[in-house]
């Protein structure tokens, strides 16, 4: 039995079903207490599950996606993210980016743009809640953040997948036949489905943890870029 089959069976367990139900309730409650929510969608496995669950209750919700630019996110990888969002049923997709992405060395732009510009714009447009697909199981830092209810900006945050494990995420994807990014099929045979992450490629920010070493082997086509 392969791992996909195992995870499909995991989807049949009471434990998984309870977590999905809890998530549905969290989303339903957040939608009743807030006027204008949006979904933060990265294109990764967690936000894919979250988006699917939110769209079931609010199909016209605004889906916000940040494009890290051609130097950190190959264009066909980015294109696939957009296709996934549309396949899941997104009607109102907003793709934002920055002109500052001019090379791989241009780091920290998301922080600068997001906290400096994007949040102000979203507040002006009246958004009062964001659905974010973070999980306590991802790291101690995220666990603390969720438990203490620490939000990053003035906009309220809702974490519907907060109690999910990586098995829950993949079980939900496989059992619902959701599209997921092909990058996972490339990385998972080497790092495992539990450790495969969808993040920027050849990003100097992750050099210190050796991410570029693996990108160099699996995404060699994008190691060198010419303008």
């Amino acid at each position: 039995m392969n791992i996909k089959e195992v995870l499909r069976q995991w989807a049949e367990t009471d434990e998984h079903k309870a977590r999905v139900e809890e998530t549905r309730q969290i989303i339903a409650k957040a939608l009743t207490t807030h006027q204008k929510p949006y979904v933060a969608f990265s294109g990764g496995k967690d936000s894919t599950c979250m988006l699917h669950l939110v769209l079931q209750q609010k199909p016209d919700i605004m889906v916000y996606h940040w494009d890290y630019g051609p130097y950190l996110m190959p264009r066909d990888v980015e294109k696939e993210v957009i296709e996934i969002a549309k396949k899941i049923g997104t009607q109102n997709l907003v793709v934002d980016t920055s002109r500052l992405y001019t090379s791989r060395e241009a780091t920290g732009i998301w922080y600068r743009e997001f906290f400096g510009r994007v949040i102000k714009e979203l507040c002006q447009q009246g958004y009062d809640l964001v659905f974010v697909g973070i999980r306590k199981h991802e790291s101690l830092k995220r666990k603390r953040r969720v438990e203490r209810g620490e939000k990053l900006t003035v906009i309220d945050e809702c974490w519907p997948l907060q109690n999910w494990t990586w098995q829950d995420v993949w079980a939900y994807i496989f059992s619902n036949n959701l599209p997921y990014h092909s990058v996972y099929d490339k990385y998972a045979p080497i790092v495992g489905l539990d450790n495969a992450r969808f993040v920027t490629f050849f990003d100097p920010e992750f050099d210190k943890i050796g991410a570029s070493n693996l990108d160099g082997v699996l995404m060699w086509r994008w190691r060198n870029m010419k303008d």
Binding site: V191, K208, I209, G210, A211, N213, W220, R223, N224, M225
Partner: protein, 257 residues
Amino acid sequence: MSGILEEVKYFANLAEKAPPIRWSRFRPFKVTFKMGSPVCVTTPWVSFDGLIAHLMMMDAFGQDFFITPKKLDLSPYLPHNQRLLPILKTGDIYHTSVSQFIPHSVKITQIYKRFEERWSENLKNKTIRLGSGHFRMYAMKQPYVPCKEVVYYVNGDMDLIKQLIEQYLVGLGNDIRIGFGMIRDVVFEETEEDYSLIVEGIAMRPIPVTMCEEYDDSAYLPYKAPYWSPRNVVLCVPPGARCKLKDEYQRSVKTMG
């Protein structure tokens, strides 16, 4: 700036004084490295001409090789037409295939960047923070290929290359200092055909598209040593892709191969 210029001058002088290299007959051959430990990689392949260039630098600079500038490509500053690689060249590329790992499967491990006591010699601070800052410890992802053999096809001076490998090569790939890429044995075998560039229409190494008449894939890749230098990156046919050399280069392959 003057520091860099002096460094360049110093190494150019060393290269000039290095004893000349005498080539003998060029012929196609196969090199098989029998591995004693997995090969640590940061690219899908390890280039043979890069490896030989590295060994020739060690030969020319002696112990000074270990103080060569790490981020400066010295090749444009070194004397030309002296100590050239003993490998056949077509256009601007050497007749060396990329590494073929047997068996080929990529695995991953973690290596740990830890503080080392030798770094503390010139430190003013008495305490060192390991959780953050310059000396922060990291678990780094490190891909490796647990292969039994690494095979290269080459066309060049087999005897000279054998001599260089036996004299200077400690291991293959990255992180040999921590035990990766240990070589048990190296086998050299002459081959009747030259398999180093293109075999049955398949590229055996990165080949600049400007040298090709037809190709079915391309990517920006370095095609000559030093492979880390962005200066050597051009649009290439990647190894494994189908391609056909332009007539002018075909002739040279036929003549020399």
